[in-house]
């Protein structure tokens, strides 16, 4: 049993009795109006407290705490590294080099034609009680790193500096680039699947990340302004709200579950335990337009699969009714009030509904990004 639980990628299945599971599931599956144990609406997140720039030794850092006491700290550290000449990088930057003479002012344009490499972003996650090569931290870090490096603004009118996404931003010149180390530290035991907490914290840390201002030009060896106040944000920030909506932002990964016909955001541990499906949806703002786009959807193995089934009264030898109603028990049929582990896939329209709720105008994704943008940086 314990080995099985370890194998499950969702955090360890809590011991929950079949009666509780059945109650929870049927409460959450009530048509149109699920009753969550903590009274939240389906799209409501748990309140959290956030602050940035807490670690002076890093380029950017953030701390996020949920009301239940789980906390995460993320530190981002940047390092200058020599670029090993890869075919695409060198050819692209060569072209940039040729153009360099004509656009001294448009530094953005020259870097727009260079692309970085995904391996320049390194993410490590530490969760108490897990080794760093356990499935959960490895899976989580890949789940968060992938959308981060893959998010590229598609719009042509986007801010030139960020045209290549985060990867493009890390290019200094043909021979040098930045390497980002993102260290994620979960301070408490993972009470629920820690992905949303870690993702929100990483997002904030990246927003607050600053890189020293480059003083050297072109293909010179990089030389930086040692005035930290002059450092530039990794993700450029602007004062006006309108412009900031159009800038590239790090993606956020949201955890969504479906129970019956309902779609529920930011599930607690108990809610995950009865989920039919558990999806991690990464969204980011599409650079060119105001809309959001999905970067990745991952299914997470829901722990409900491994829970213990309830025993209907009819089959319970400890119940006196067993003899009388034994004939009624039909195999494989759902009996109300008895927990059966959820098995099987997810319906297409459920996934569609989840994605729609995240992406739609004024939807959950937009509100989360807006809320994170509102956190004071610096």
């Amino acid at each position: 049993m314990s080995a099985q639980r370890q194998a499950s990628s969702a955090s360890q299945t809590p011991h929950i009795s079949p009666a509780e599971l059945s109650y929870l599931w049927s409460s959450l599956a009530l048509p149109n109006n699920p009753i969550r144990p903590d009274g939240r609406s389906p799209t409501q997140f748990r309140p959290l407290s956030a602050e940035t720039d807490i670690l002076p030794g890093t380029n950017g850092s953030a701390r996020v705490g949920f009301a239940d006491g789980t906390q995460a700290i993320v530190g981002v550290k940047a390092e200058v590294e020599k670029t090993v000449a890869a075919a695409d990088v060198s050819s692209l930057s060569q072209r940039a080099q040729e153009q360099f003479g004509e656009n001294q002012d448009g530094e953005g344009k020259s870097s727009a034609t260079t692309t970085g490499h995904g391996s320049w972003v390194q993410m490590s996650i530490e969760i108490p009680g897990y080794r760093d090569d356990d499935a959960l931290p490895v899976f989580l870090s890949e789940m968060m790193r992938e959308p981060l490096v893959e998010s590229v603004s598609s719009g042509g009118n986007a801010d030139g500096e960020m045209a290549g996404g985060l990867k493009g931003r890390l290019v200094i010149n043909r021979r040098w680039h930045w390497r980002l180390y993102i260290d994620v530290l979960l301070l408490s035991q993972p009470l629920s699947y820690p992905l949303p907490l870690l993702s929100l914290t990483t997002h904030l840390a990246l927003l607050s990340t600053k890189l020293p201002k480059l003083k050297s030009l072109g293909e010179e060896d990089p030389f930086f302004d040692d005035d930290w106040d002059a450092a530039e944000y990794l993700y450029p920030r602007s004062q006006s709200r309108l412009a900031s909506a159009l800038q590239l932002r790090p993606p956020v990964t949201l955890l969504v579950i479906s129970v019956g016909e309902n779609v529920i955001f930011d599930p607690s541990r108990d809610e995950i335990a009865v989920a039919d499906t558990l999806l991690a949806i990464s969204v980011a703002r599409d650079g060119g337009s105001d809309a959001l786009k999905v970067l990745s959807i991952r299914t997470v193995d829901p722990p409900s699969r491994l829970t213990q089934p309830g025993m209907p009264n009819a089959e319970n030898p400890a119940s006196l009714e067993s003899a009388a109603v034994a004939e009624q028990a039909v195999n494989g049929e759902e009996i109300p009030g008895v927990w059966r582990p959820r098995r099987g896939g997810v319906k297409r329209n459920t996934v569609a509904k989840m994605v729609k709720l995240v992406l739609q105008k004024g939807g959950v994704g937009e509100e989360v990004l807006e809320g994170l943008e509102g956190v004071e940086v610096g």
């Binding site: 011991h15 009666a19 903590d38 309140p47």
Partner: protein, 385 residues
């Protein structure tokens, strides 16, 4: 708004000082124990000679090396020296010449007769191991449960073989502490119709008493200060006269049972009406057979049909308790009922205007009590208390 992001709150918790007048245990100390206010120390030392730290002390810290004091709970002495060393993090309490350290937070210490809610974590050949939030798992012997039908007989090997039909891993039980062994482990029993397997409701784990009834006294002072940042972890379930009661809920919720385990585990469920079980089988149930019929469903893990109104009120009660715990208020029948009524009142105050326009479950749930509503509920409860 789907997400609320708050600025960090500096934990500015003032711990009860044993010298404070609010909970002075120093009834008749032989030494003058006034604090030297001018000391620049983080922890002001007491008058020279006694040298006892006040405020919070940590495990391993020497409380005093003065031989005049006796060591009490939460301390130990090295046989070779006279110094009293703390074993828990907490505040020093002095009772005459007895020094003890009250832990800030502690696990539940079982006492005989406590009503506890526990979760089965292990099934052994002749007993269950139950998690009751104590330092050690409690045990529930097979001989200490009611057999279905209330039959009184010796437990046979057949019972041992089908031990999982009574309780299996993960099941919740309400039980009573029968004995406490010398190592602090408890033995439970469920030999009463009040006890047994739990179903038809939700489970909630909050802090228990930590074995000492200090929560009530510490907390009242902390909240009365009116600070918005209330200390967490101080509130919890306290031992009281009534740990189990039935609430007649509003909004058509019907009767709801609340079980407050002394260990901080709480069960809130739909009130079990025993009548259907009886009437469905036979109309003429004799008094002697009544007990058998009731206990026939005692090991069921099948929930009854529970209407949404009841579920909503169960969720509301659960949240009320959470609000109390987060506010650092003790949890007992009086405060829970106070909080429940307060939450109904707050709902009335807020009015229905913002309820109707949130279609599609948008925005904050109407039933959501934390956040701004929590503060109001706490105020109302404390007003009453």
């Amino acid at each position: 708004m789907a997400i609320t992001i708050l600025p960090p709150v500096a934990d500015d918790v003032s711990y009860p000082d044993s010298d404070g007048d609010s909970m002075s245990m120093d009834s008749d100390g032989g030494v003058d124990l006034t604090t030297g206010g001018s000391r620049p120390h983080k922890r002001p030392r007491l008058v020279a000679g006694t040298d006892i730290s006040s405020g919070v002390i940590t495990p391993g810290e020497v409380v005093t090396d003065d031989p005049q004091w006796m060591r009490g709970h939460g301390t130990y002495t090295n046989p070779l020296s006279t110094s009293i060393i703390a074993t828990v993090a907490g505040t020093v309490q002095k009772t005459n010449k007895l020094l003890s350290v009250q832990p800030l937070r502690a696990r539940y210490t079982p006492e005989i007769g406590d009503l506890v809610v526990g979760r089965i974590v292990e099934v052994q050949s002749r007993r269950w191991k139950v998690d009751v939030a104590a330092p050690l798992l409690a045990q529930l012997p097979l001989s200490a449960i009611n057999l279905p039908g209330g039959i009184l007989r010796r437990r046979t090997s057949a019972d041992e073989l089908q031990i999982r039909t009574f309780f299996s891993e993960g099941d919740l039980v309400v039980a009573e502490v029968q004995t406490v062994h010398s190592d602090g482990a408890a033995s439970l029993h469920t030999r009463s119709l009040k006890y047994g397997k739990l179903r038809n409701g939700v489970f909630l784990a909050v802090t228990g008493t930590g074995g000492s009834g200090i929560s009530s006294s510490t907390v009242k002072g902390g909240i009365g200060a009116g600070s918005t940042t209330v200390s967490s972890g101080a509130g919890g379930v306290v031992r009281s006269r009534r740990q189990v009661w039935t609430v007649n809920t509003a909004n058509g919720g019907g009767d709801v049972d609340v079980i407050l385990g002394v260990n901080g585990y709480i069960w809130i469920s739909k009130h079990a009406t025993d009548t259907p079980a009886v009437s469905s089988t036979t109309e003429s149930v004799s008094i002697t057979r009544m007990e058998e019929m009731v206990s026939s469903s005692i090991y069921s893990s099948q929930n009854d049909a529970i209407p949404p109104q009841t579920r909503r009120e169960i969720a509301r009660l659960a949240q009320c308790i959470q609000v109390l715990v987060q506010g650092g208020v003790r949890v007992d029948e009086e405060t829970v009922m106070g909080a429940y009524e307060a939450s109904l009142q707050v709902d009335l105050e807020v009015g229905d205007d913002d309820y109707y326009d949130d279609d599609e479950g948008r925005g904050e749930g109407r039933e959501y009590l934390e956040g701004s509503k929590a503060q109001r509920i706490l105020e109302l409860v404390l007003e009453r208390g």
